[in-house]
């Protein structure tokens, strides 16, 4: 049984009793476990880990209580991925798959994109990856993947029939599936029936079990908490947080990247799919994630979501309130003047955006002062000379340290925090 998983049959009626357990701490890993006793939420994660604390009660009897319940990442560095990315390399819906290509520690066996099968991946994407591009799941099988990662968000959100057939084929061929869509694949009994021992479906874009509302208590943690914020969506907040995390590790710090979206979860494992959490529990979900790691690590790099300037995503506020950041890093795309998908909304001067983020974080003094420590400038579309000029200009305009952490490394940003 791969990954220590037990039987793959959905067991939504499973009840755990542990009054007889002798161990003080037990970790249960189940592939599909709905902890009915703690949550009636049908959105709860497909895979959860429960840590138990065993103690003697007043009447001398041993009682076991759940210390925490968290979703468990199923994707591991030893896996070989086939990334389902139809029309995603040239199109604009493949952000998750392209992020996986850029950052995943797992090997990429093949990329599936019917639009550019046979072409050169590195030339098309600029990402140094030698994996072949193939037209279908069937064509990917000879490259021996063991996990199919769904790396694209279909227009409208619903899964096209032809993709469903491809996913079915992948499962029938023995692959596990990492699914970052809102659509739960575990709800499809025909797919579930195909699963064999050791095979799993990870529906990661689901609300975790056992959530509570937020309280702001992350501010009591001793660690640094660095949150990326942005002038728009999809401009490099996740990449910046990962680059900062790796720079922190290189300096010997106990550092942790905490994912808040499906791409980050596939890359790093620990975190929460914030956009699948109900508003009532949004800041609480972030708080639970940060509290879980905040005593263990010196610095947490929390992946930002959305933008205070973009009406499509309001995830920024629960991220700020839940993580109680000590520092913000503002991410901007060089030269961008309007929101990319809502062109009638203009991006204000960066110094005003800095003031806005600091004002919201501090909330007129209700919370401690939180500085925007530096600007991460996405210069992907510029050559080196133009990139350096843009960075210099933003640094002068804002009076803050600035660099492109993907192109030039994140050391300058980290210096501004430490």
């Amino acid at each position: 049984m791969t990954d220590g998983l037990s039987s793959q049959t959905p067991r939504s009626d499973l009840q755990v009793s542990c009054s007889k357990l002798e161990r003080s701490r037990l970790e249960l890993k189940l592939s599909y476990f709905q902890p009915k006793s703690w949550s009636s939420n049908p959105h709860c994660s497909a895979c959860v880990e429960i840590a138990w604390n065993s103690a003697l009660s007043d009447d001398g009897e041993r009682r076991d209580r759940p210390l925490f319940i968290r979703s468990v990442p199923l994707l591991k560095p030893h896996h070989r991925l086939a990334i389902l990315l139809h029309d995603g390399i040239r199109g604009d819906k493949g952000k998750t798959g392209l992020s996986l290509l850029r950052f995943s520690e797992a090997a990429i066996a093949a990329v599936i994109d019917r639009d550019c099968a046979g072409e050169n991946l590195a030339e098309l994407t600029g990402i140094p990856c030698a994996a072949p591009i193939v037209a279908s799941v069937a064509d990917a099988l000879p490259y021996q993947p063991d996990v199919l990662a769904i790396g694209i968000a279909p227009t409208g959100g619903a899964l096209p029939d032809e993709w469903q057939l491809e996913i079915r084929l992948a499962i029938a061929a023995g692959l596990s599936v990492a699914n970052g869509l809102h659509t739960r694949l575990m709800d499809d009994p025909e797919l579930v029936a195909l699963l064999k021992p050791g095979q799993w479906i990870w529906d990661m874009r689901q609300e975790p079990a056992g959530l509570a509302i937020g309280t702001g208590k992350a501010k009591t943690l001793p660690c640094l908490r660095v949150l990326t914020v942005g002038t728009d969506m999809a401009i490099g907040k996740m990449s910046t947080s990962i680059a900062l995390h790796r720079a922190s590790q290189q300096r010997g710090m106990r550092s942790k990247f905490l994912a808040t979206g499906q791409a980050g979860l596939m890359i790093a494992g620990d975190g929460v799919a914030l956009d699948a959490v109900r508003v009532d529990f949004a800041s609480g979900a972030v708080e639970q994630m940060v509290m879980q790691f905040g005593n263990e690590f010196e610095i947490l790099h929390i992946e930002g979501q959305g933008s205070l300037l973009n009406p499509s995503s309001t995830a920024t506020l629960p991220l700020i309130r839940g993580s109680q950041p000590t520092h913000l890093i503002l991410v901007h795309r060089a030269g961008q003047t309007q929101l990319s998908r809502l062109a009638d909304i203009f991006i204000p001067p960066l110094r005003d955006v800095v003031t806005l983020y600091e004002a919201v974080s501090t909330a007129a003094g209700a919370f401690p002062r939180v500085p925007v420590a530096a600007i991460a400038l996405n210069t992907h579309h510029l050559d080196d000379v133009a990139a350096e000029e843009a960075i210099e200009q933003v640094s002068i305009e804002t009076g803050l340290p600035c660099t492109d952490p993907i192109r030039f490394g994140a050391a300058k940003l980290l210096d501004a925090i430490l």
Copy 2:
């Protein structure tokens, strides 16, 4: 069949086909309908209304498209309510039930609170309501209620076993149930099996079907959009919005109150249970609600939620982005210096809170300027003289019009908007 409802059996496999329909607009009301074709979301509302638009397509064939899908309020002014409010009159968990007592247009047959059965409701609550307080659902039946409204949030969120028995008894006795808890009663097959024709369970705290992400397009509406915001949670935002709505109607305006929480939904019907919506769709849910009524009414009064100062609720941002308010009304409790449930968080000076809300709404210029037009001051705990002094003081401190809209009427607030 009461309320035009069809059979009460859950029909989650129902598919609607309407290519043959001749009418240009058809409204379907079904008691438990999951529109699988538009949403795979298991949180969708228990009752939805679909408006169809029929048009000739290019090939000359008649096509029917859903214009909108919205949840339908099932509680109507002709109903007689029994309010389940155990320990809620003296305790602090009965906000929903007490709001119903104060504002519901439906008659109150009885209030069920085991803690103060037989006592005088008006004396205990200050709300002029002559309904008896009884100890149980069984004791309420002689007063001939036809709907049991769950007016209390149990500690921890889960429904205690004894309450479940009471709800079962109510349904068996022929009552419908208005449920504002996160827990879905329609998921309990034993309860559903007890429903007879004309009887319903309204699980209102569920995500509506057919949501999309927000775009900020509410700013194009011609109507006034007034959003209440607050220095804390549970201080009178809903009451203020209802008072403003009634004052607007008294002036002959086409006015609409839009609920965003379970109490508001029970009182007014139209709206969205925002805290049950996933973060991804939060501003979109508010936007959909506002767009649905924004061309039909001159002024929308949107019930506020949460507070930018309170880390427990981050619903304020999707409300601001989704409704694109033209005016904000800041609600504050006279003399309150700290958050009521998080006493380590101090409320900043009101003029700074005004600046914060205006800054977030305008977002450094990305959105049109939105003024805080006036302050609604909750003086429930003061006598008339002290209330007038507090109002005068806040008005001087902020330089804004101020009154207590429950005690003195909302005319002064409305004047500040018009």
